[in-house]
Symmetry: C2
Subunit: 426 residues, 2 copies
């Protein structure tokens, strides 16, 4: 138990930029499941709000702790309990860094595919709590698609197990999927059984530049293969990255047919792109992937980026790119957009002055228009970052009143005394 | 509304062999979502139990209707509303025959992968309600992995929508996954948005015979590629199919690298198989697949098959095959087993005398040992058929008391007056 104010301060925020203010009661650094159970039992009986925390890399504020709240840190529950090549599963504790799951699996020729950008710094427990996405989702699915079973401590401290060790299994309701993405509001994830798959035999990389971002979006939506990676960067962001002002599209195919698929992609892109590049070796591939990787650092040189995270159906991607740019122009708030294009998952980045404290009104105003656009185009408020605190007031609009109410009732069922991350997610 | 007793009789049973007896009140054949809503509204206010029905192909009794219950038949809600090649989704009504979803998608080079054996006679609504499996699940996942969004009429008649049209989307809890596999107990599915994927470029087929079923199971668990189909048939079933008494393993690889993967599979199987066959054309592939397809018809010639449906981790498959055979010997009840081997999903078939009415005690006794075996090996009671009526009394053992209670509370939340398929699933 940490009660020293300076140390507590290091555990009260995440990477969302949201500051709830005040001072948490303390931090529990759990070293066993039994300690998590005891913490919840006590907190539930004393009605103390508990904020569960992995590495604090959340982007929506779900891991921020306010005045009078207790932080339950799971980063020391960080053992990989088992990699079973025969069952193609990993059994892990929540505090394991996501990339380490993969490093352990790769020794057996297997991998855990979900690859949020934070995978080297975020924990698998946090990934599960937010149903994290990443670059590979259009082909390989999101975190939820890779979680077979969970150990969860309920609000009153009792431990349950959900799911199992197999992909099939239809006894009872799918509690596993319910806990995935619940942002610490339904229970505390203390163990997970993850599905693994063989590492793809090969990867091929194609990149293309387009004079027109809508043409790039259109090309991304009409690729002739199910690509592993389809990343789109708008001209404004490219200007920040390397001074070019064209739209950039990065496509990676993988598996035994990666190169044949990349040939087809290359040919398809040629019809509208100004330039198409094909990586001839891993160094060239790395250089092309590096362009996408520079997007956020490049914007960080301009100011403080507020990362939005909407989803639209892929058929509306070109329209979304155009309308986002228009929102920027109309509001006078610069919006830079890159996207996991095959998913229709866009990250419109609002860059504000570095010295601004909090989030200025005009940025909120632009963000609201971004959210409204997502819903208008048949999309969703958040694709992979979660609702947290920042998007909470828009949730009802997306879900609809009755569905929202059902979800709140569900939450009350799991947490009757409202101790689990109150004020977050719904 | 059908109240004629003879017609009602045609709607009161499914394919489980379970007969609850008595006479349902009547059958509502809904032709619109509004009629489903009105039916539920009325039934909820009058406390009349409602059994939702698609094609009645269920194997666990979930679609059987007892005395005083109302059957809600959705087979006339059978339009495919949309196939969107750009978004790679199908939007369908629940009464569409599953194979028809695929036939519509294939015109765009896309497919809906889940392939329960019943796909030509079962409805997509029923597939969703049971989270149906099939042959392709180890590589392509189960029905739940293909459902992006649902329209659901709640017990009181109100309509909600869950999920969306995209693979990503983390606003709120995953109600979609909760309804999938809920066997008609949480709401009535009246629409679904399904994910589609490109049809694989190629398929290759390998088959092998083994003197020893455990060696066959072992080979199935250790394949050098992520195969699309891995079907295992035990010697007893093979004897019924074609008089051979060896274990049979059918492997299909698919995608751009199908043939290279099949080469590797062929070589791997050669080390322990007595014979390995590689299909040189689609006719030969069809003949090898046909052997598996004959399994159930062959057993139907011997007597009345009771189809069990357990799951074990793949690493326990060989042990499961051995122990199932031993249960057959010890109880004197003949057990024939075939398996979706890559999933660890076994169908131990108890064949009883054709003239027996109901399920004899010794068959129940053997089935109980089969269920106990599944749980002992770290598996599950049902992989793809559901709990229905038949496995209900074993559910608590698999789930554990607290998890079972949580699920019952969840059910009460969605259906406070217990009108939705009472006596089923939990």
């Amino acid at each position: 138990v940490i009660t020293d104010p300076d140390t507590i301060a290091a555990f009260r925020l995440d990477r969302s930029g949201w500051d709830p203010g005040g001072q948490p009661l303390g931090v529990i650094q759990a070293e066993s499941v039994a300690q998590v159970q005891e913490t919840l039992r006590q907190a539930n009986s004393d009605r103390i709000p508990v904020v569960v925390r992995g590495a604090g890399t959340g982007l929506a504020g779900a891991a921020t702790a306010a005045d009078g709240e207790l932080v339950l840190d799971l980063s020391k529950l960080n053992r990989i309990r088992e990699i079973s090549p025969l069952d193609a599963v990993a059994v892990v504790e929540p505090g394991v860094i996501t990339a380490n799951v993969n490093r352990a699996a790769v020794q057996y020729g297997l991998r855990y595919a979900p690859d949020p950008a934070s995978l080297e710094i975020s924990t698998i427990g946090g990934n599960i709590a937010t149903n994290a996405g990443g670059l590979l989702c259009a082909k390989y699915g999101v975190t939820r698609d890779w979680v077979l079973g969970l150990d969860v401590v309920l609000a009153d401290g009792e431990l349950i197990s959900t799911g199992g060790r197999t992909r099939k299994g239809v006894t009872g309701y799918d509690l596993t999927s319910l806990f995935v993405g619940s942002e610490g509001t339904l229970g505390v994830i203390v163990g997970a059984t993850l599905r693994l798959e063989p590492v793809p035999a090969a990867t091929a990389t194609v990149a293309a530049y387009f004079a027109d971002v809508e043409q790039a979006a259109d090309a991304a939506a009409r690729l002739p293969a199910l690509a592993a990676v389809v990343e789109l960067i708008d001209p404004a962001t490219m200007r920040a990255i390397d001074g070019t002002s064209e739209a950039f599209l990065l496509v990676q195919t993988d598996g035994g047919a990666a190169h044949a698929e990349a040939d087809a992609v290359q040919e398809a892109l040629s019809s509208t792109a100004t330039r198409v590049l094909r990586a001839r070796d891993s160094g060239e591939a790395e250089r092309l992937v590096g362009i996408r990787r520079q997007a956020l650092p490049a914007l960080e040189r301009i100011g403080r980026p507020l990362i939005e995270d909407i989803v639209v159906p892929r058929s509306r991607l070109a329209e979304a790119m155009r309308r986002l740019s228009r929102i920027g122009t109309e509001t006078g708030v610069p919006i830079f957009t890159f996207a996991h294009a095959a998913d229709g998952n866009l990250h419109p980045i609002i860059v504000i002055d570095r010295n601004t404290v909090g989030i200025p009104d005009e940025a909120w105003h632009a963000a609201e228009q971004v959210f409204a656009l997502a819903l208008e185009l048949g999309g969703r408020l958040t694709g992979e970052h979660g609702v947290g605190v920042l998007k909470r007031r828009f949730v009802g609009t997306e879900l609809g009143a009755r569905s929202h109410r059902v979800q709140q009732q569900l939450r009350e069922l799991f947490d009757p005394h409202a101790i689990l991350n109150p004020g977050k997610a719904l």
